[in-house]
């Protein structure tokens, strides 16, 4: 019975946050003897380090330690060890940390940094991912083959290709032969910034006894701990990682970032703790970003609209390191044809090194990009064939039981329905379409829709765990490994626990900060995996706790355990509520009137293991994910053809998430995620000079959406086809909220004025320049009309 699941209970951390009490890594300044860390970055995109002279900096009073790459030349990274803590032999992007120091104050650190002399010998850089993929002579990592790679990845020696993922099915040529029409296009998306508001902060303390303590704005404290152990060749048990509340993460704080540098500085600073806090500019230049993408796609389709063949090449611009982004290429590789059932597939997904800032995870993880390609291509096809966009999609979408992502793994019968999502969105968009006419002839209206799918991209042995620890008064603490970065999963987990344990929601405590020594393990807080994985672990922990409670109560009440139930903090045999014990009487052990006691303090534990397989290296076949969430999004826009400016009138979303655990939190994800996606779709782009220097490392030049930029109306639908093995049937949603927006917008522009956009972002200038290219007379005609005063 659900008292809380399905209801919009307030966030567990809401009060802390509105009272200004929530603590973030940036707020931690109370550790005794804390030093300020700061690093000097490379001003050249590709160069050999000739010499580093720190003599003058060392003379500055208050400088405690200076480190260079040679102090700890260990390569770090999640799936590929390709990143120096500080550049060792050469620098590979502008912004790469080269020398770091720890000082008594920030101003001393800054002064000392300005006195360090680094001599470089320039090497030819490579910035264009297409060229980087072909290049054999300009290599970002000549020694790539020597790096440690996780076995799921396939780097190609002697190239800039950090990973090549292949998806194969049927016979591609045969598929094209069966087609009536063939469509070939190229699409792209630039690198973008997470622009989480809390900059990266890492405090490292390498203690005199060799133990390591870290406080970091890290999404995945357990991964940080594990990789720190490898980096510093010490047992995991020697390391504690604290991750307090995060001021947003969106994937950008998912891997291992500046923690090793903070620890290294502390080690050199005679074991004093060191705090590294990035400025916004440093965050833009030195911290990881989102991959860029170029894609070429060739689609064969019959007159009736059945897709017979899909051939795609994705090139992922990972910048100078790909330790996390190899998995973006892999995940986008196995979903590369989108939510469609296609007989003949040939898809290649390459993660490629260039001399630009390095990429990591970012909400949507390759899927926002690939659906930009697939769903724009589908729009172009439907227009040419004259088929209704939703009818065309439904003719081709995956249905339960069909082969998921083309790789011959059967989609579960309870996987959810993209068709229902498409219908719900289309109904809200299409009826009004023709009714409204604008006053001005240069204002055009259009609607666009996109369908999509995504599951968590995680290793097959990804695990979650939880424990539930009861207190004297019958209240309970739930511990999980998932970090709180705004998404609100912890609240949903507490709802699940409250219902499972029959406790009031207020009597469940779940802390917002993570501590790897205290908390139950989870792999990472990424990929919209937490509710499903940790949710199951919490449920199992509650069942285990109840088992312990029932054991005691069955002895006391002399009834079989299987007859017992908990409701309103009372334990009783089903149907006989008068025959009860209160939880507080049991959870610390039950004492008979005689004083004799049984049972003991209750701690329930639970785990959940992902059920997936390793994908076949040659075809991509296998089970890639624990679930796929399906969805559709659409927009209705007004476009000013004279200026290229667009207004989003309406944004409609539908997701089949199995079960809505907390409607308000889900809706919050949808609104927040779709505004973020609109921001990315309409304005965001990291722009570089021809030397690879980032030109817009600030919020004044890198525009992100503000309150004045949001759509006039949001409509959100949740479809609830439950998945049997999800907690209460639920699937994840966090990332899904972004994925359809760019393509839906591109499709709406096409609908409005018949101009096709292939490259993100769709700025006003971009629309204007495409109108000029594709409709050369439109603007001059409209200018004339403007003066005629029509």
């Amino acid at each position: 019975m659900n008292n809380y699941v399905g209801k919009s209970v307030a966030r567990k951390d809401a009060k802390e946050k509105v009272s200004g009490l929530a603590e973030y890594a940036v707020d931690i300044d109370y550790i005794p003897n804390l030093l300020s860390g700061k690093f000097l970055t490379s001003p050249i995109a590709h160069a050999r380090i000739v010499s580093i002279d720190t003599t003058e900096a060392e003379k500055i009073p208050g400088v405690v330690a200076i480190v260079t790459g040679k102090d700890w030349p260990v390569k770090i990274g999640l799936y590929a060890g390709d990143r120096d803590i500080l550049a060792v032999e050469k620098v590979v992007w502008i912004g790469q940390p080269v020398v770091a120091l720890a000082a008594e104050s920030e101003i001393i650190a800054e002064k000392a940094l300005s006195l360090i002399k680094v001599e470089y010998q320039s090497l030819e850089p490579i910035f264009d991912p297409k060229k980087a993929m072909e290049s054999k002579d300009i290599l970002v990592h000549e020694k790539m083959v020597e790096y440690n790679h996780s076995p799921a990845f396939n780097p190609i020696p002697g190239t800039n290709i950090a990973n090549h993922f292949k998806l194969r099915k049927g016979d591609i040529e045969d598929g094209f032969n069966k087609a009536d029409e063939i469509f070939e296009n190229e699409f792209s998306m630039p690198q973008v910034s997470h622009a989480y508001l809390e900059p990266i902060v890492s405090i490292g303390h390498y203690r005199k006894d060799g133990s390591i303590e870290v406080w970091s704005s890290a999404q995945s404290p357990f991964t940080v701990r594990y990789l720190l152990g490898i980096t510093f060749a010490t047992p995991t048990s020697n390391i504690t990682v604290h991750s307090p509340f995060l001021g947003g993460g969106f994937g950008g704080k998912a891997g291992l970032n500046f923690e090793p540098l903070a620890v290294l500085l502390s080690r050199k600073a005679r074991n004093r703790p060191v705090k590294l806090m990035l400025t916004r500019e440093e965050n833009f230049r030195s911290a990881p970003i989102r991959v860029g993408m170029v894609a070429s796609i060739k689609t064969g389709v019959t007159k009736q609209g059945k897709i017979t063949a899909q051939q795609i090449k994705y090139i992922w611009d990972s910048g100078a390191c790909a330790d996390y982004a190899v998995n973006v290429g892999r995940a986008a590789g196995y979903v590369s044809i989108g939510p469609y059932d296609i007989e003949n597939i040939k898809s290649d997904s390459y993660t490629v090194y260039t001399n630009k800032p390095y990429a990591t995870a970012f909400r949507g993880f390759g899927h926002l990009e690939l659906h930009w390609v697939i769903e724009r291509q589908n729009e172009i096809i439907t227009k040419k064939l004259g088929i209704d966009p939703v009818a065309f999609r439904k003719l081709n979408t995956l249905k339960p039981g069909t082969g998921i992502t083309g790789n011959q793994h059967r989609l579960r019968e309870d996987a959810g329905s993209i068709d229902e999502c498409l219908d719900k969105v289309w109904i809200d968009l299409s009826p009004k379409k023709d009714k409204i006419k604008s006053f001005d002839p240069w204002i055009f209206r259009g609607i666009g829709i996109a369908g999509f799918m995504k599951g968590p991209a995680q290793p097959p042995n990804s695990a979650s765990s939880a424990y539930v620890k009861f207190n004297e008064d019958g209240s309970a603490l739930v511990s999980v490994g998932t970090s709180e970065m705004g998404q609100g999963t912890l609240t949903s987990l507490a709802q699940i626990a409250a219902d499972e344990l029959g406790l009031p929601f207020e009597k469940i405590k779940i802390r917002g900060d993570r501590d790897t020594d205290r908390d139950a393990y989870t792999w990472q807080t990424v990929g919209s995996r937490s509710l499903f994985m940790d949710g199951n672990a919490v449920k199992n922990a509650c069942i285990n706790a109840k088992e312990q409670i029932f054991e005691t109560v069955s002895q006391v009440l002399r009834v079989p355990k299987s007859d017992l139930t908990i409701k309103n903090e009372l334990v009783f045999p089903r149907g006989e509520p008068w025959k009860h014990l209160s939880l507080s009487e049991v959870v610390m052990g039950y004492m008979y009137p005689s004083g004799e006691s049984i049972g003991g303090p209750v701690i329930g534990h639970g785990t959940y293991m992902a059920k997936m397989t390793i994908l076949d290296a040659n075809t991509g076949a296998g089970n890639p994910a624990i679930f796929e969430t399906f969805g559709a999004q659409g927009v209705e826009i007004e476009l000013n053809a004279l200026t290229g400016e667009i207004t989003i009138l309406k944004l409609v979303s539908a997701f089949d998430i199995g079960k809505v655990i907390n409607p308000q939190l889900c809706e919050g994800q949808v609104i927040g995620g779709s505004v973020m996606a609109l921001s990315i779709a309409t304005s965001e782009k990291l722009q570089y000079s021809d030397k690879g220097d980032l030109l817009n490392p600030s919020f004044v030049d890198y525009i992100i959406s503000r309150s004045g930029d949001i759509p006039k109306e949001f409509i959100t639908h949740f479809v609830e086809n439950p998945q049997e093995d999800g907690p209460h049937g639920a699937r994840g949603i966090g990332e899904l909220t972004m994925i359809g927006v760019p393509a839906a917008l591109g499709n709406a522009i096409s609908d409005a004025i018949g101009v096709e956009i292939f490259d993100l972002p769709i700025t006003s200038e971009k629309i204007w320049s495409e109108i000029q290219k594709q409709k050369p007379t439109l603007i001059s005609n409209l200018k004339q009309k403007m003066m005629e005063g029509i």
């Binding site: 009272s19 947003g248 004044v700």
Partner: protein
């Protein structure tokens, strides 16, 4: 963290959240630095340090300012209000309560800034429209919520004043 430079210090006296507070400062410290580092006012966050993001917004003599763009010395004898000053003993303001009910809080990093600006807007005793509030809060960035629930929270409390 220590921010100050090498010039002689001066004594800064302000009324911070209703209490007189005194500290030694240097000329190059901003109001943001002093609030966070000297007065331990941690609800005031920073994300850009150059006035773009608005996360460091506080009320200075009852008017909103981005505290990274104000020198601490300029605030001598001024009154300063932050979220710490509007919350006492578990008693939330109507606006804080509205933020919770509307789901206007996600990561929470910008929440203090929006709350204090919202507090200012409500104290105007003037009725505002949705789009006016949208414009008034345009100086603060939120990357999580999509702003809608923040606008709705402020609007709700503002409308209640005129019921």
């Amino acid at each position: 963290m220590i921010k100050e430079g090498t010039r002689p210090t001066k004594t800064l006296s302000v009324i911070l959240n209703g209490q007189k507070r005194v500290t030694e400062i240097q000329s190059n410290e901003t109001l943001l630095d002093v609030l966070r580092n000297k007065f331990q006012i941690k609800s005031v966050k920073a994300a850009c340090w150059v006035g773009d993001c608005g996360i460091c917004t506080v009320l200075l003599d009852e008017k909103p300012v981005k505290s990274c763009l104000v020198l601490a010395q300029e605030t001598m004898n001024c009154t300063i209000t932050t979220v710490e000053g509007i919350t006492h003993n578990d008693k939330l303001t109507e606006l804080q309560d509205a933020f919770i009910r509307h789901g206007a809080v996600q990561c929470g990093y910008c929440t203090g800034a929006f709350l204090i600006l919202g507090h200012y807007i409500i104290n105007q005793q003037q009725r505002f429209t949705f789009s006016e509030i949208q414009e008034m809060i345009n100086g603060i960035i939120c990357r999580c919520t999509g702003y809608l629930q923040i606008i709705e929270s402020i609007l709700e409390v503002n409308e209640k004043q005129f019921r």
